[in-house]
């Protein structure tokens, strides 16, 4: 069986007293578009830096197709990407920057410069100095530089950050297209919409820990189904809900009434019965799907899941 594109086990990075990454385990399978999601400072970028061999782990290890990036750049064969914003030599043109990187890559990368410029739609500006590029153009040049290596695993750190809405749309479209060609993509982001649109699996990172890893669908399922409840006596209903087995996350609803999560439909039925017996007659009881944002905040801020309006 071939090794997965990315495998992380027990990865820790400490800077003095600060633990930026605290024992992360992850596995990215071939063909995944894997999102590392977390608020700023969660440890996503540190994780990617260790993945690319730019910084040394304090403990644990990373394997790229079974190879250790700490042992040298040979482990990066078939792997490319960028950490934080892609950086280039501002006094050289976009093409010259790519020529430099292609020279450092060898393996015929120089022959792919026109092709990758075409993919990221930068051919017309390739002879301009990078110092004059917009942020979006820099991001696209970063993708072009990554594609020069014909990666099987593409690592992108916040690829849509700083882009205007059209640029963000184009970037997502590009990532989807690359994934459609069989490339495994790992992207870190704090933009929920970006992850929701392009990723099939996510790891949610909070203070250096992975608090969730799996599919988005599974994430929604594990969060439980949220409900909106309105009764003739919401105050009494809230007390009954709080005491009812299988019911959690009871909170006032945005437009009145209550919201809660139920672990099963049976728990909802039993709640309905309990409310009727207590004299709090049900006026409205409707399931609500939690958004990814709700789940994200729940996991990263330890806040109860709120339902969509």
């Amino acid at each position: 069986m071939s090794a997965p594109p990315l495998e992380v086990r027990g990865l820790v990075k400490r800077y003095g007293d600060l633990t930026a990454v605290a024992g992360v385990d992850l596995t990215v399978e071939p063909g995944d578009v894997f999102g590392c999601l977390g608020p700023n400072g969660a440890g996503k970028t540190t994780l990617l830096r260790m993945t690319l061999g730019l910084i040394r782990p304090s403990a644990g290890h990373v394997r790229l197709f079974g190879r250790d990036p700490q042992l040298g750049v040979a482990a990066l064969e078939g792997v490319s990407g960028f950490v934080e914003a892609p950086r280039f030599y501002p006094y050289l043109s976009g093409r010259a920057n790519l020529e430099l990187l292609a020279a450092l890559d060898g393996d015929g990368a120089a022959g792919r410069i026109d092709e990758v410029l075409e993919i990221v739609d930068l051919r017309d500006r390739a002879r301009d100095r990078v110092g004059g590029y917009s942020h979006g153009m820099g991001q696209r040049l970063g993708i072009a530089a990554a594609l020069l290596r014909r990666p099987r695993l593409l690592l992108l750190d916040e690829p849509a950050t700083g882009l205007d809405p059209a640029g963000m749309r184009d970037m997502r479209e590009l990532i989807r297209r690359l994934a459609g060609q069989g490339m495994t993509v790992v992207l870190s982001s704090h933009l929920l919409a970006e992850v929701e649109e392009v990723c099939n699996r996510v790891a949610i990172i909070r203070r250096g820990h992975v608090v969730y890893e799996g599919s988005l669908a599974e994430l929604r399922r594990t969060a439980g189904v949220a409900y909106r409840l309105r009764t003739t006596d919401d105050e009494r209903a809230a007390r009954i809900c709080a005491a009812q087995p299988g019911i959690a996350g009871v909170a006032p609803g945005a437009g009145g009434g209550l919201t809660f999560r139920a672990e099963s439909e049976r728990a909802v039925g039993e709640l309905s019965l309990a409310l009727a017996e207590a004299g709090a007659l049900v006026l409205e009881l409707a399931p609500q799907l939690a958004t990814l944002e709700d789940l994200f905040f729940q996991l990263t801020e330890e806040r109860p899941v709120a339902v969509a309006a």
């Binding site: 690319l52 061999g53 040394r56 750049v73 990066l76 006094y91 010259a96 890559d105 530089a145």
Partner: protein, 274 residues
Amino acid sequence: MTPGVAVVYRWELRKLRSQKRTYLGLGAAAIVPLLFVLALVLRGGESGPRDVAFGRYLHDTGLAVPLVLLLFGSIWMFPLITALVAGDIVASEDHNGTLKTILTRSVDRERIFAGKMLAAMSYAILAIAITGGVALGAGILASGLHPITSLSGTRVSSGRGLVLVGASLLVYLLPILAVASIGLLLSTVTRNSAAAVVGTLMVSLLLQLVGILPGLGALRPYLLSTQFDAWMGCLRTPVDWAPIVRAAWVCPLYAVPSLAAAALVFLRRDVAGG
């Protein structure tokens, strides 16, 4: 096949060719001798620094001009020109974030470092060559190509004088390359271009100060600053090899540990900035 040091070196040179900083240093290396000769011509007669070696021959032969400039340049000009690139070549990449860009390609850190080191050394060599060449050319235009009197008081033909000037420039490279090594170390360790450039110059000046402190005379032969005078051994009759040989082993005492420490830091460092 993985690209080698030659590929990195070639690209480091291309990067240097594209930066204004490079031309600032090389421009100074060319302009200073031109201004020096222009001042000599304009002031005419007996003008010039007559109290330094070869100063009194500046109006007699163009061969004296590069030699006088070697004396003056060792105080701060050549260390500064050298530090402009050696102190910047790693630190600027770290600061701009391009270090992470190149370290995630197919060339390992050892080769990246070696390419940068060779580029910094090449620049220093070019700067000395430019100063020497321009000084010699301008000097010959102003004073002609005539025999020169050696430090031993013997007349040296203009042809042999040219060879000795060339040899002097080569010997002068020994301490210059040691300065470049110190610059590279500071560039790698400080990750700050300005600090590395100024730091290199300060180290050079500090060593000169140590050389004039009373009671430290025994140290003087082993100071890097003293090696800047080793070339004078070429201008004695017969050639005095002692200072040249000493420079040949003292300068590596400064250069090799600096380069080794720089390489160690570069290979093991976390690239977390940018």
